[in-house]
């Protein structure tokens, strides 16, 4: 898949955001939501007709239909060194049909046929032409129904000669819920380009930067949702995303990258271009420092992850285990093997078992807008009122005193988790705002002392502090690779993206930067060996990739999920025993031709 395609799906899922306080008040007395709206009427009317009459001879009719219509106005601009590389803006309305045949206990879902069916999507007309809307809904529903009947018979046939060891329902039963999140807004045309130009200009005049790019994406969307069980919502969402990326090549050819990101629910939440340009420039200075820093061949011992590094570590290693993904019945044996290795989540067997030290807790709360009372930073980016199943968002305590209590779930049950936690974002469950809380946390100095103490116990003359880790989302296509390679997958033989800011710390407090390093053998189990955490926390906005390893496989739409942005509030985390090593793999050669600025 090309970078472009990934980015496009990304946009839809970015639809995070505050679904508004205007909600609720009118719901109780309003009856059906959006009766004044042609789109909602068209969705409801075609749904009612299909529930009643859509039936093939010898097959059952649908027992459930949900329509999701997304109006999206988006504006994207990519720039390099103050000059536009490309930009685009446009408006469209996309429909996704979820149609189920069978029963909640056993239906056409959670099944990947030999030639997997694709989620039924269609373009709907913009505006309020009721008849034109109905015509497209009719055709899309017809396709979805035939596909569902086909899948159900395929699935039934596949199970004919097997006994299922465990019966897990295919679809959870939930209370219907309505929500009006209409909050009209404007996209503010032209701001993406202005931002991309201003921030990318910060990298001008720096011949060390072999490559730099700024990507800006702004999106205004309205989602219309109705289902045949009575749930409905209209939600206006806005998202702005700025990513400034740069790379240097060290004298040995090693390519080093870093980035600055800003995610928000509106332009008001994004720092102004000057502020971001200043951060971008500071990032370039960090890169220059790393370029000339020594390597670290291998280190095993205590490592302190601070700030962004702690957040990315949780995002990439722990958070994917906190979502409940169902392993579907897969016809293709190769695909089945691949999927079960990726979808196998050890935490499914660890409910009520200890997965973190006792002093740590994790809470997911998409209902809060700010991390603390009196917090003046921009609103959290993982806040929403209803999820993409129409279920109300709610606070879920995932880990209490180190013990796993729940996983984030959609209406697709998995073994041991029967109902939704209101966590569907895109296709799969994703965190909203994730809070990692430490009881009896250490002060910064205490934590540092503890780190040095642990190092001394091991007779190490230094310890390691990691301040930044690469992101799956904010990456440049490496110069050593063809452009357009897959995002999301860390390289260098590690399950975590490379370390972007790691330092040797010596007993006298001196810090020495490390050029490039990766974590080795880091898994969710490693988190049990956290020995201490800081009292203070920091907030980071991240991109959650549910299953990057699966994204490249064909027919994975609806299983893989889409990347979503969310906020995390996290303390610094001290691990007792971590292996950090030099990245594996050959290095590209340094450029033969000097940078143009060096020869002017």
């Amino acid at each position: 898949m090309s970078r472009g395609a990934v980015f496009a799906t990304f946009c839809l899922a970015l639809a995070s955001a505050v679904a508004g306080n205007a909600a609720s008040a009118s719901e109780a007395d309003a009856g059906l939501l959006g009766q004044d709206d042609a789109v909602m009427r068209a969705l409801r009317d075609e749904m009612a007709r299909s529930m009643q009459a859509l039936r093939l001879e010898g097959a059952e009719g649908p027992y459930f239909i949900a329509y999701r219509a997304f109006d999206v106005v988006s504006e994207r601009a990519n720039a390099s060194l103050g000059s536009v590389l490309n930009r685009s803006t446009g408006a469209s309305r996309q429909l996704a049909v979820e149609l189920r045949v069978g029963s909640h206990d056993f239906d056409n879902s959670n099944y990947v046929a030999a030639s997997p069916s694709r989620a039924v999507r269609a373009a709907l007309p913009l505006g309020d032409d009721y008849d034109a809307l109905r015509r497209q809904l009719w055709l899309a529903t017809d396709r979805a129904y035939k596909q569902a009947v086909n899948d159900l018979s395929g699935k039934t046939a596949a199970l004919q000669n097997r006994t299922r060891v465990e019966e897990v329902a295919d679809f959870s039963r939930e209370q219907p819920h309505q929500h009006d999140g209409r909050r009209p807004g404007e996209l503010e045309p032209g701001r993406s380009e202005e931002m991309a130009l201003a921030v990318s200009a910060a990298f001008r005049g720096l011949p060390q930067l072999g490559m730099s790019e700024v990507r800006v994406n702004a999106q205004q969307s309205r989602t219309y949702f109705v289902d045949s069980e009575g749930s409905a919502f209209i939600a206006d969402r806005r998202a702005v995303q700025v990513e400034a990326l740069a790379a240097v090549q060290a004298a040995d050819g090693a390519e080093l990258q870093d980035f600055v990101t800003a995610y928000g629910n509106s332009w008001a939440d994004i720092p102004d271009p000057q502020a971001l340009a200043a951060r971008a420039k500071a990032m370039a200075v960090r890169l220059a420092l790393r370029r000339d820093a020594p390597y670290l061949d291998r280190y095993t011992g205590p490592v302190l992850f601070e700030g962004q590094a702690a957040a990315e570590l949780v995002n990439q290693v722990l958070a994917p285990r906190l979502v409940a993904l169902r392993m579907p019945l897969v016809e293709n044996p190769r695909l089945r093997t691949m999927m079960s290795s990726v979808l196998g989540n050890p935490f499914l067997d660890r409910l009520n078992a200890r997965v973190l030290p006792r002093f740590l807790a994790v809470v997911n709360d998409p209902t809060v807008v700010r991390a603390d009372e009196g917090d003046t930073s921009p609103p959290l980016v993982g806040t929403y009122a209803v999820d993409d199943d129409g279920m109300p968002a709610r606070r879920v305590s995932l880990i209490e005193r180190g013990v796993l209590k729940a996983l984030l779930a959609t209406r697709t049950p998995v073994s041991g988790i029967a109902s939704s936690t209101g966590s569907r974002r895109g296709e799969t469950p994703s965190p909203g705002n994730l809070f990692v809380e430490a009881r009896g946390g250490f002060g910064e100095d205490e934590l540092r002392e503890e780190l040095m103490l642990l190092a001394a116990e091991r007779e190490l003359d230094h310890a390691l502090v990691v301040r930044r880790i690469g992101s799956s989302a904010a990456r440049l296509a490496s110069a050593a690779m063809q452009p357009g390679s897959m995002p999301g997958m860390p390289g260098g033989g590690s399950s975590v993206q490379p370390l972007l800011a790691a330092y040797r710390v010596f007993p006298d407090g001196r810090e020495e930067p490390i050029r490039a390093a990766v974590l080795s053998g880091m898994t969710e189990a490693t988190f049990r060996d956290i020995v201490a955490a800081s009292e203070s926390t920091t907030r980071h906005d991240l991109v959650f990739f549910p299953l990057p390893a699966l994204a490249a496989l064909p027919g994975m739409s609806g299983v893989v999920g889409t990347p979503t942005t969310y906020s995390m509030v996290v303390p610094s985390l001290l691990f007792e025993d971590i292996t950090v090593k030099r990245p594996a793999g050959d290095l590209p050669q340094a450029p033969l031709i000097p940078h143009p600025l060096e020869s002017l």
Partner: protein
Amino acid sequence: MTLGGRHPNVRRGALPMRCSVASATLALVLAASVAEADTLATMESELARSLDVLAEQPDPVYFLSYEITEDKVVSVYGSFGAVGGWNESEQRGLDIDLRVGSPQLDNTHELRRGGAPPRQRVRMQAPVSDEEALRATLWRWTDHQYKQASERFTQVKADVQVTVAAEDQTGDFSGHGAERATEEPVSLEVDRAAWEAKVRKYTAPFRASPHVLSANALVWADAETRWYVNSEGSAIRTANTFYRISVSASTRADDGMVLPRSEQFFALSPDGLPPDEEVMAAVHGMVAELEGLRTAPIVEPYTGPAILSGPASGVFFHEILGHRLEGHRQKSVREGQTFRRMVGQAVLPETFSVFFDPTIPNIAGADLVGSYRFDNEGVRARRVPVIENGVLKGFLMGRMPIEGFPESNGHGRKNTGFRTVARQSNLFVDVSEKHTKSELKAMLLEAVEREGKPFGLFFDRIQGGFTFTGRMVPNTFNVTPTVVYLIHPDGSEELVRGADLIGTPLTTFSQIVAGGDELAVFNGTCGAESGLVPVAAVSPAILVAQIEVQKKAAPQGRLPILPPPGFAADGAGR
């Protein structure tokens, strides 16, 4: 090693030795910030700077070109009388042709061992509005391309050593004189509200028919600017606009066969687009034809005489002749090379001539989208006669020479991101003995009677076609018609469905009999190794003594279960 004649104006500053900034501080170099960079001059000077280094490497670079293609695109689309969305975008693709070795043998040489290489698209982008940004981009990608090229050149040398001597001993590249041209920039004339009105208007008539399952319209425009420089001293800026209106709709027969119809209008300026009345006349024709097609009988596989309408004939020549005259196919060991040894021989009736001419932008009031002034290798466009009075004269040539044809004739084309090969431009079929429509029909009926056939065929409208030119597969073509009529011996015509026109090139060519007196234009987009390129075919209707039709692939899906909303189950309106 040749380095081509560089243009004297190219600035060639003295280069310092490999610069390395050892300290951890940032070396800040102030570059002139140019609001509107002189893109060509920047490209030329960066090209010269790169060559200074790369021509001195162990695998020296002997040719280098940069091409930046900027596309500013606007589109509005919709269906069934409503607007579905719109898009405005701009992007700038960068292409680098970097050659190490020598014109006789370089890194682009075909590797004869192993399977055909996958068609790869390398997407590089370049900013053009700023000198520093453009220089930095060209620098980075030139270095990247050089490393790839020298790696491949090593493979090429090994491949040449272990394979038998090539049949065609010509080299890999032909030089060309410097070309300088600067065309004025172009911009698009877009009134989005007016386009939205068009999209609604063009698709609304389909609403009345319960059997139409898709009805889409697109209004689209592209302003394309290309900057090209090379180490032979060429510096070219060209500017084009393309406008397109497309209306497509489909229905399904009761047996599940999908029956599509589409009308495409291409133009090189907004004035070239048809007025609404003309589009609406086509739309109403489509509505009626779809209704007719839905219940039309199916043609069984058949061989016999047929008339191909002008557009059908244009596509027919494009597929069976045009693709086989693309120069590089005469050399590749994976190609069928149908016509390679037939130069000087008669391949068509004496009354038929065929030429390609990208320099003709318009004929009989219709714009031709395969027109251009320079190809993608900096070679000036020109007319290329390929068949004169039935005799094969030559091939379409890019810069890769083939036996007997050492030079380019301005047909090195590609879409940005692909490697250039010889491609078609505007194809013209020229018939010296012209027959009226009724004469052609009379000739067809005579043939039907002579051969005792139950009927003849008239291929009226077509969607497009495809052909296989490789050696590993049968060398066939397929032209996919959408509207076909049976012509019964009594002269009556009957609409039929489900026929694809197929054949093999030499047999089919020997069956072409006569041509008509009215030229028709088919504008389209052709896809091959070097991506999608706009092409046109201009041809009169032709009579073919024997063609073959095969059954169209038919998806086995059922018709929609419910009637369309607002219609009763029997299809009656509300």
